[in-house]
Subunit: 327 residues, 2 copies
DNA sequence: CTGTTAGCGCTTTCAA
DNA sequence: TTGAAAGCGCTAACAG
């Protein structure tokens, strides 16, 4: 028994033709008589031939592989973006290779390099943060699109994100319209998207003449939200706008632990409108990010780069507010 | 400007040596004088050389790539297994490539093929179901380990899973000890792991002489749990053992919607002990699967195959019960 | 329509 | 210690 996989040469031998013909026939490249094609296809099937993608990629200088690096898998919003990218990529025959950074900068870098070493044709980074130099290094190998916000545009890197300031304003406006004045903002993030939402929150509060009622509850990444929330509640806060749905769910949990009714005793608004918003009780009012469009757009931007575009594009989509039972 | 990436030949030219020497030096393969090695390394750094993994893999017949296919990303248990696989793989210099099946058999097959085409050195399938022929086809290219339960052992495929029957028994025993008799089982799964937990539930109920009190609430995959739960509650059911944490959380949500207090009005036990169990309110009592060991074991099994093992191994780990506030 | 040839970028004998 | 040459499996001119 020959343990190694059959190659194009084995197929050629079996079909009694040259290996070039096999290559042509199997790819349906035209210019092969129906009879020989049939013979070749059958021979390939008989010996269980599968083309070696490595060899093809080496020769063609393209892999039809799309690398997707996601900061973490434990936020449903991220995985939803990944799914929208996949939906957009597949019709073009692109295979998506997923890697995840486990929220560590070093690991992110390593995964991006690994995908680059594999010669992916394009890279989509789903993260609210990544080092500019890292992205630029990757972009020397293949076009890179960042889905998520960077502090400022990175030269050579396209981006897709939503208007965080506006999203935050939607949340605050809604709470103010419902009669809230002491609206606090809960955030554990010092990354660009988090900062932008926070800035949007503060601007909106000021616009409503509530600047002196504004209160930002900061917490470390793995710290409980409890202490900060308790302090805010004692100070008379009646509503919380959280930086994302995960943190909003933390607020709901804390309210549950303290026996505070939502929304009667405390109104809560999240951000992302991820699956978590529907799973939470009460269901979360949340700022919706248009994920489906974001994934599609990211893939479109790659196509444009492949077609030759050299100028950068930074797409900003508008979020909307989805009102549910938590406000 | 030369747009294509520098190759080993460019490095050789710059260092004034042959390309074989570059290959040796860059891999630290010994047999290269310190001086030349130094020169080569510097030259490589200067022109920003990165080795082409495709070419190397083609030549060496191995990629150092580990494919991980996961049925879906929206169950935290799955992603936790993936993380444990990654932790186990990295010390060996293996890069993990993740693909996900979006819960569709066709897509699973396609993703497995795609990874096979890339010549991954091994494949780990994290799923409670996959077609035996599909796995066996993949196993002709590289060793395959299934993490999760198949209906019966698949010849040629190693597996790692937990003892679902025993896990179900732990849940039932605990509820019976707490005084429950009308314990229902909620399940939306007809796949092996789900069936095994169901069988374990039924066996345990029978063992406690409660066979006539047993009640299985079946629902379609995307159907709400509500109707079946309401019927069970009307029938006097006081506890639910759910097939996994996601379904247990559905029960908690339904209880919330109906104003039923947990655990006073209804006790709930989940399975997996995923992050969801801690995020739920009240926190879920759940059967813990030893994920960390499972991921490690899966990688170990691959190593054994690479080292030449040809007999199949099927590892079954023991679950434990973690008691929290929902019971 | 079909076959020959020359590589893609790398590793790996085998000589020098 | 170093270099020359062969070739992994495939595609892409170029001939015939």
């Amino acid at each position: 028994m020959n343990s190694s996989r059959p190659t194009i040469v084995d197929v050629a031998a079996r079909a009694g033709v040259s290996k070039s013909l096999v290559s042509l026939a199997l790819r349906g490249d035209g210019g092969v008589s129906a009879a020989t094609r049939e013979r070749i296809v059958r021979a390939a099937a008989e010996i269980g031939y599968r083309s070696n993608a490595l060899a093809r990629a080496l020769r063609q200088h393209r892999t039809m592989l799309l690398g997707v690096v996601v900061a973490s898998l434990d936020n449903p919003y991220h995985t939803e973006v990944v799914e929208s990218v996949e939906r957009a990529a597949e019709p073009h025959g692109l295979s998506v290779l997923l890697a995840h950074g486990a929220r560590k900068a070093g690991r992110m870098a390593e995964r991006i390099d690994a995908l680059g070493d594999l010669n992916v044709d394009g890279l989509i980074v789903v993260s609210s943060w990544a080092a500019p130099e890292l992205l630029q290094a990757a972009a020397r190998r293949a076009p890179v699109v960042m889905v998520g916000r960077s502090l400022e545009p990175v030269a050579g890197i396209d981006s897709v994100n939503n208007d965080d300031e506006h999203g935050a304003a939607l949340a605050v406006d809604h709470l103010v319209a419902a009669g809230h004045e002491r609206i606090a903002h809960l955030t554990s993030s010092t990354r660009p998207a988090g900062l932008a939402r926070r800035a949007g929150y503060e601007a909106a509060m000021a616009r409503h003449g509530l600047a002196d009622r504004a209160r930002v509850i900061e917490r470390g990444r793995d710290e409980p939200a409890g202490p900060g929330l308790d302090a805010a509640l004692e100070a008379g806060c009646s509503a919380i706008f959280a930086r994302n749905d995960v943190e909003a769910d933390d607020v709901l949990n804390h309210a549950w632990d303290r026996g505070i009714a939502v929304p009667e005793g405390l109104a809560v608004v999240g951000y992302d409108d991820s699956a978590l918003a529907l799973r939470a009780r009460p269901r979360l009012t949340s700022v919706h990010q248009p994920r489906a469009e974001m994934g599609e757009l990211a893939v479109d931007l790659l196509h444009e780069r492949w077609a030759g575009r050299t100028t950068d594009r930074h797409e900003v989509l508008e979020p909307t507010l989805v009102i549910r039972a938590s406000t």
